[in-house]
């Protein structure tokens, strides 16, 4: 149980995303010690660099940091929403963890995403098709994951909506007619429709009022408990991180400045920036 570090579900090494034309000094001239992620020589922007971590099955990992620290970039790269400049990632259920998923073909990446990943975005419009009904959105995900039986799809959709406390009788309504919290819960239902071992959550409670926020947090917590889904939770809200996660990564200027158990990060932060972040907590 100790010391063994081969039990990971997702392994990420040197994940890097740079916009523009970097030169060989770009990585050495950017980062928290320079308080900037813009290379002074080339003006290329280091969205994230040298990102390393292991995520274990069923584990919830938080990524915190200010706007522009690169935290969303990390999950977007891993979900193939954008292309990495460098680095590798391995996902255990794919090729038994032997193949770098970032180096796969577009078609393989779609398969990996459709079968093994779920993503919940801050803005429900990014995760849902507002032209489809809420049931249709879930069906879309199920079809992409290889389910074609209409009856099964409808049953699965209604049980997912029930789980996420969206009234099933509204299955055929478009999400545009839903409240923000309901849209978010439809998005979560869609994201977990394919039973993914890995779920990404990007600022999912931002902009929701507190009671709705509590409901969404509750749902995420329950999904984690009942289904054992591993999650990466990106948030600038430390209370969300405290409630949901076991471990936390703190990012600044595109780099990881500290990582550790969530209660340790919150109560005994080691890095100057983490101390500042925690002391700013209301």
């Amino acid at each position: 149980m100790s010391g063994k570090n081969d039990n990971w579900l997702l392994r990420v090494r040197n994940l890097t995303k740079i916009y523009g034309e970097p030169d060989e000094n770009t990585l050495n001239l950017t980062g928290p010690e320079y308080h900037s992620n813009i290379c002074p020589a080339t003006e290329s922007i280091v969205a994230c660099a040298d990102i390393n971590f292991d995520l274990y099955p069923g584990e919830v990992l938080g990524i915190v940091g200010e706007s522009g620290s690169g935290k969303s970039t990390v999950v977007k790269l891993l979900h193939f929403d954008m292309e990495a400049t460098g680095g590798s990632a391995w996902l255990r259920p794919y090729a038994n963890g032997h193949s770098n998923i970032l180096g796969e073909s577009g078609q393989k990446k779609r398969t990996i995403r459709n079968h093994l990943m779920g993503m919940v975005y801050q803005n429900p419009r990014d995760g849902l098709n507002f032209k489809f009904s809420s049931g249709g959105n879930i069906a879309e995900k199920l079809i992409m994951a290889g389910n074609f039986h209409v009856g099964n799809i409808r049953n699965r959709a209604s049980s997912l909506l029930e789980k996420t406390e969206v009234p099933v009788r509204r299955m055929d309504d478009q999400p545009s007619s839903f409240s923000g919290g309901m849209q978010q819960r439809v998005q979560i239902a869609k994201a977990i429709a394919n039973n993914p071992p890995l779920l990404f959550l990007d600022e999912v409670t931002t902009g929701l009022d507190v009671s709705v926020q509590a409901k969404v947090l509750d749902l995420i917590r329950e999904l984690q408990q009942d289904l054992g889904i591993a999650m990466i939770v990106v948030s600038h809200d430390l209370s969300v991180i405290r409630m949901l996660t076991d471990r936390t990564i703190v990012m600044k200027n595109g780099r990881i400045v500290e990582s550790g158990l969530t209660d340790q990060i919150l109560q005994d932060p080691q890095h100057a920036y983490s101390q500042l972040l925690v002391s700013s907590l209301l």
Partner: protein, 235 residues
């Protein structure tokens, strides 16, 4: 057998946001805890009792020294073990009960108590049944069992806190002021419950200011002053 052996432990807080101010939290801490032993930590507020407990639970990162814990699977240094090993121990062997209840909103009391059981036990109803029995023992009114603990009184919250820490029968229990805001009758119940755990082999480290509790509960006391153990005494 020692379940815990602490050698030369120190904790220095370096506060970068206060002009690199350094605060010595703990200095040269040495002690052991035997299996099935209850050790009391005493001392004034600010003497380092909670810091010590948090170093053991790894909420604080010790600056130097070692904390050797005899887990079910061998000896492990809690200062250096990787985060995943600590998470596994917290799930299965070590629980920490702080003075303050921190809960997820909108989770009923029974489920708060069950949280750790849910992680290992799949049968939720069975876990809830166990929690209800425990809350009944602790005298928490039935109508509160399905309510949200955020709204509870101090003593009610404390009982939830104690219940969730001991329900999983940890091998090592770290408990901070378990009886502070309880009436005498409930105090006795909590003391009895911890003694019951001890009978089953649980080792306990307990912070308390309450002489009544200390007298009835602990086998041995360690007294802290300015971050150092200045006195060791039998109960």
């Amino acid at each position: 057998m020692n379940i815990l052996e602490i050698n030369d432990l120190s904790k220095l807080f370096q506060l970068y946001i206060l002009n690199n101010k350094r605060i010595e939290g703990l200095k040269n801490i040495h002690f052991t805890v035997k299996e099935g032993e209850i050790v009391g930590l005493t001392g004034k507020s600010g003497s380092g009792k909670s810091s010590l407990m948090k170093c053991i639970y790894r909420t604080y990162l010790a600056s130097s020294g070692e904390i050797l814990y005899s887990s079910g699977a061998g000896v492990i240094d809690l200062v250096r073990a990787d985060d995943h090993a600590i998470i596994a121990l917290r799930k299965n062997e070590i629980t920490y009960c702080s003075q303050f209840l921190s809960v997820i909103p909108r989770v009923p009391a029974v489920d708060v108590v069950c949280e750790r059981l849910f992680r290992v036990e799949k049968d939720k109803d069975q876990a809830r049944q166990k929690a209800r029995e425990m809350l009944e023992d602790l005298g928490l009114p039935v109508e509160l069992w399905d309510a949200f603990p955020v709204t509870f009184s101090g003593g009610e919250q404390q009982r939830i806190n104690v219940a969730r820490a001991i329900i999983s029968r940890p091998r090592l229990l770290l408990i901070d002021e378990p009886t502070a805001s309880l009436d005498p009758r409930t105090k006795d119940i909590v003391i009895r419950m911890i003694l019951e755990l001890k009978k089953h082999g649980t080792s306990v480290l307990c912070i308390s200011h309450d002489e009544y509790t200390l007298e009835r509960l602990v086998d041995r006391r360690l007294h802290l002053q300015h971050g150092e153990i200045v006195e060791t005494a039998l109960a």
